[in-house]
C-alpha cells in the first residue's frame, strides 16, 4: 500500500492554530535528533522542520548560525540526518519537513536526495536559496514523483503575481516570512505585518499560509494564529535548547514562554 504523505494528511484535517518547530539537526549533539523529534511529538507539536546544517547560512541570524556551526563540528551531514530519521521511523508519527540550503543537496545530487528523503518518510522540503523558476525548470517533476512537497517562502515584499506563481508551483503550505529579515530578529509584529498576513489570507490561495520568523512569545504566536493557519518557531526553540540542553526540557520551557500549558 502506498503510504500517504503525513503533511498532506495533517493539512487536510487541520488548517488553523498549527504549530511547527524548527531544530538544527546535530545540535547540541550529533545523536540528539531522535530525542528532539520524540519530545516535540509528545508535546503535541503539529509538524517539524529538521534543519540540515550549512557552513554559510546567509538568511539566518546568530542562533541558527551558531547551532549550524556546532552541528557541522559534531559531524552532522544531510545523509547522516536522513539515516537517523529512517532508523527512528517506527516511532515517528509527526510529519517532518527538511530545511536547509541548496549546496549540500546539490553535492548529494537532487534525485538521490529525493529518493532518500522519500525512503525516510520525509513529507516536504524547504530550500530558501532555490528560486521558484529554477525549481520549475529543473526539479518539479522529480519532487512530484517522490511525493515530496516543495515549500516556498514569501515576504511582505513579494508581489501578488509572484505569490500566485509560488502558490501554483509549491505545495504543502506557503511559508510566510513575517518581515524582510534574517531569522530570530524581531520583538513584536507591527500593524503592517498583520496587514500583510491578512492580505495573504484574502488571496484564496490553494495552499495554507503558515507564518515564521520572529515568533517567540504568547503575543507573536497569537498574531500568527489569528492571521494565518499556523506558526513556525525556530530561534526561540533553539535558544531554549541552548539553555536547557535536552529537547524535553526545551519544549517545556518554550511552551511556558508561549503561554501554552501542555499539549496543543
Amino acid at each position: 500500500m502506498k503510504h500517504m504523505n503525513a503533511l498532506t494528511n495533517l493539512l487536510e484535517k487541520k488548517r488553523q492554530n498549527l504549530l511547527s518547530v524548527y531544530f538544527t539537526a546535530g545540535y547540541p549533539h550529533k545523536d540528539s535528533t531522535t530525542e528532539i523529534i520524540s519530545s516535540l511529538q509528545d508535546a503535541g507539536v503539529d509538524f517539524l522542520e529538521a534543519g540540515f546544517p550549512f557552513s554559510d547560512p546567509l538568511a539566518d541570524g546568530p542562533v541558527i548560525q551558531q547551532t549550524s556551526q556546532q552541528a557541522i563540528t559534531n559531524g552532522m551531514t544531510l545523509d547522516c540526518l536522513l539515516l537517523q530519521i529512517e532508523k527512528a521511523r517506527a516511532g515517528i508519527t509527526i510529519p517532518i519537513v527538511l530545511m536547509g540550503y541548496l549546496n549540500p543537496v546539490m553535492q548529494t545530487g537532487m534525485e538521490n536526495f529525493c529518493r532518500k528523503a522519500n525512503k525516510a518518510g520525509i513529507s516536504g522540503v524547504i530550500i530558501p536559496d532555490l528560486p521558484p523558476d529554477q525549481y520549475e525548470a529543473r526539479y518539479l517533476d522529480l519532487f512530484k514523483s517522490y511525493d515530496l512537497h516543495m515549500i516556498f517562502l514569501v515576504t511582505p515584499e513579494t508581489s501578488e503575481q509572484r505569490i500566485r506563481n509560488i502558490d501554483r508551483l509549491g505545495s504543502g503550505f506557503i511559508y510566510a516570512v513575517s518581515s524582510s529579515s534574517t531569522t530570530g530578529r524581531q520583538d513584536s509584529f507591527s500593524d503592517r505585518q498583520k496587514q500583510y498576513l491578512r492580505r495573504l489570507q484574502k488571496m484564496n490561495l490553494r495552499n495554507p499560509v503558515i507564518t515564521g520568523f520572529g515568533i517567540h512569545s504568547r503575543n507573536t504566536l497569537r498574531t500568527a494564529w489569528e492571521n494565518s493557519s499556523g506558526a513556525i518557531i525556530g530561534s526561540a526553540y533553539l535558544k531554549a535548547l541552548m539553555r536547557e540542553g535536552s529537547g524535553q526540557k526545551a519544549i517545556t520551557q518554550l511552551f511556558g514562554q508561549l503561554g501554552l500549558a501542555g499539549p496543543v
Binding site: D56, G61, P104
Partner: protein
Amino acid sequence: MNYSVNKKGFYGEFGGAWIPEMLHSNIEQLACNYIDIMESEDFKQELDSMLKEYVGRPTPLSYAARLSEHTGARVFLKREDLCHTGSHKLNNVAGQILLAKRMDKRHIIAETGAGQHGVATATVCALMGLPCTIFMGRKDIARQQPNVMRMKMLGARVIPVSSGTCTLKDATNEAIRHWINNPSDTHYLIGSTIGPHPYPDIVARLQSVISLEIKEQLVQKEERDFPDHVIACVGGGSNAAGSFYHFLDDRRVKLTGAEAAGEGTGTGRTAASLLTGSPGIIHGCRTMLMQDDHGQIKGAHSISAGLDYPGIGPLHAHLHKSGRATYTAVTDSEALQAAMLLTRLEGIIPALESAHAVAALKKIKLLPHEIAVVTLSGRGDKDMDAYMEAIDGAGVEETKKIDQ
C-alpha cells in the same frame, strides 16, 4: 561561443541568482534597471569624468624593458596600482555609487577581505557624502590594520565579523544578512565579479575600462589593438574580468588567470577554486568552489588576503570550462619571488595579489616577438609586513640572483 551573461544571469552553466526570497525584490530591482542606467548618456558622462578626475584614469600601459629581457617576450604592465587608493577596486566602486544614487539608495554597505575594496568604498562614500558600513572578518582586521585605519579615517563604520572562518566569505554573508534586514534604502556594493546576478555583470562592465584602455594604448604604442597574451590574478576575479573583457571574442588573444595556490594545490591550504574546486553555490552564485563531500564550504588559504576566497566569479568558471581562458596556480612563495623580481627590475612594489600575475609569466609559453600584458591590480604598501618577513626569513632567491 558567447561569453556574455544571458537574460537569466548565466554564463553557460554558471551564475544565476540563487537567493532567498528576502533578497528577491532588491536583486530584481537591480537586475531590471542596471543596463538602462549604465548605458544612459548621463551615467556614462558622470562616470567618465569621475574616472578621469578622481580615479586618475587612464592608467599607463608601460613597457617593462628589464622584465621583458628577463622573461623573453615583450611585457607591458597595465598600471592599475596607480589608481587612487592603490588598486583597480575604485573603478567598480565609482560606478556602483552612481548606480546606487540613481536608484535612490542612501546607505552603502560592502564586504572586504584585504581591505582594498573597503577603502575604495569608504573613499567614494566620503566624496559623495554617503554613510557606509564595511563588513570585515576578524582575522582580516587583525592582519590588515592600516586599511582598517584608513576606512575609519574616511568615516566608514567597520563591523568585525566573527562567524564561520572570520574572513572574506563570512564578511560577505554578514553584508548579505544586513541587506536582508535593511532592504529599502541600502545598496550592497559587492567588490568583485561574484554574488547573484546581476552583480558579476555589473562589476565586469565597470572593470572593462581596463581592457578598453589596453586596446587604445596598444594602438598608440604598437599600432595594433590586441596583445598576444593578457595575464591577471583571480580571487573573485574582477581585475581579470576587466582585463579580459574586450578580448573575449578575439581568439588571437590568449587569456591567463593566476589563481592563488597558497601552499600548493595538493596541500589543502589553497585558494585555487577553479583548479581544486567543484561546482556548487556560494553567495547566491553557481560557480566552482572549494567544499567538502557534504557541500560545506571550506576556508581558503593564500598569503594574499585579496585572493583568499573559496569561490570564483561565474564568468571565470565559464571561461575555464569552455577553455577560452587558461588558469594557472601560483604558490605563496612563487608570488613572493615575483614581487621581489618586479621590484628589483622595474622599481615597482606590487600588491601580493598582482605578484601572482607576474609569477604566471613563467608558467606560460611566450615567444620573443609576442606582446604580453600583465595587469598590476594594486600596489604593495599594504603587504610590506609579508615582504619584510620573506626577506628577513629564508631569503628570496630572485633577489639574490639579481643582486649578484
